[in-house]
């Protein structure tokens, strides 16, 4: 069975007041991840088709062609995991 971990390489908590969470997707899965997320989330803006400002449910986040995404205002890793599960697995 496919799991979130199959797509995610690392999750980096950041320092700074903003408490952003950065998700680094597995390099060989980045195109698949981008496709899946773009199919689910609502696109607000994009630069050259490689940087995407997105919303999904009540969350806003940014996805980069480099296979990284930055999520804001998440309570904890559990919330992030369920969000990623919704975006990638359903």
């Amino acid at each position: 069975m496919v799991a979130v971990d199959d797509y995610v390489s690392r999750i980096e908590g950041t320092c700074g007041k903003e408490k952003d969470i950065i998700v680094i997707f597995k390099y060989d899965k980045k195109d698949d991840v981008t496709k899946r997320i773009l199919a689910k989330a609502k696109l607000k803006k994009s630069i050259g088709g490689i940087i995407f400002e997105l919303t999904f449910q009540n969350y806003s986040f940014r996805l980069y062609g480099s296979g990284k995404a930055i999520f804001r205002d998440l309570k904890d890793k559990e919330e992030l995991n369920s969000l990623l599960a919704e975006l990638l697995l359903t």
Binding site: C15, G16, D20, S66, I70
Partner: protein, 412 residues
Amino acid sequence: MLDSYKIREDFPILKRTVNGYPLIYFDNAATSQKPKEVIDVIKDFYENHNANVHRAVHTLSQEASELYECAHEEVAKFINARGMEETVFVRGTTEAINLVAYAWGLHNLGKNDEVVVSLMEHHSNIVPWELISRIKGFKIKYANVKNDGTLDYQHLEDLLSKKTKIVCLSHVSNVTGIVNDIKRVAKLAHENGALLLVDGAQSVPHMPVNVKELDADFLAFSGHKMLGPTGIGVLYGGKELLEKMEPFHGGGEMIREVSFDKKKRRCSIAWNVLPWKFEAGTPNVAGGIGLMAAVKYLKRLGMENVRAHEEKLTKYAILRIQKCCKKARIYGTTDTKVKCGMIPFGIEGLSSHDIALFLDNYGIMVRSGYHCAQPLHEMLNLDSSARVSFYVYNTREEIDRFGEVLKEIEQF
């Protein structure tokens, strides 16, 4: 004048691409890249000379010991210390400061004493003092920074008294790049009978540093920020001061003798000579030799030239940021005469991590967050900052490319 294009040829990593773009490495304040010369010296050590240092009589050990001792001497000359007895090899700046905090602080600080630390310090020059303060009960007094990021010298002076036993200050801020007037602070500290510990992590790699001229009692710096390998750093201390101090770690190498008294059933211990008294256990020999190669490389370039090159790049980058991105704000002073080659900045509507990810997408590596200096960010009312920091291999063309990406970010 440095020829950064020629210098780049010595750095294999600069040939790679990131996300399909040529690598632009602007995170030099965190760690520097390594020239082939340094990489080769480490490889050569493991391939041809590897052995444990000191006390063995065999050929390989003699060769390794000689190289390791040469490394100490080379580093001593680089900062104008009297000799290897004044240059203790440690893991890095953090360990060097911890060494002073524990080996000196635990034995010389008491309840009625005070330690003065500035608010622009890296956490590594704050946390060790807070830790020792919990054990010994002394007061820590924090010197303010002004709105432009410069040190408030008057406030620091006001904090000093006969109770002050040590002043702990960075030579160059790791966030703003501001260069502190160490000579001035040394004079103030010494007039009050206090010692001065200087965090040189951001100065020794980027400008000429002469411990005699600075009149610092301790100077801590890291090899990996000055083209050397990770896991090696230096604590400079005056010989007389280091001799008076108790050791930091106990073990092999740092002792001359451990003798068991059969009657008392205890061991009596005599310390080894400097600097080995502070280098317990098998040291990072390859790291030390790598650092020597890095120092030789920098000496060939000339530290005045390194400073001048970075000053020019910084001046140019400040102009590019201001021109290419109206939403950008540079934090701290933009006067390159009083700062080293780093620029902290933000862009309206974006977090520092957003900026770093944007740039990373185009192969440009910059730092984001607090840079281990949360108190400074709090003093300057910043949520976090993005930081570009330059070194000998960076070029104006790289800054131009950075400016172009900033333009794109602004449009987003």
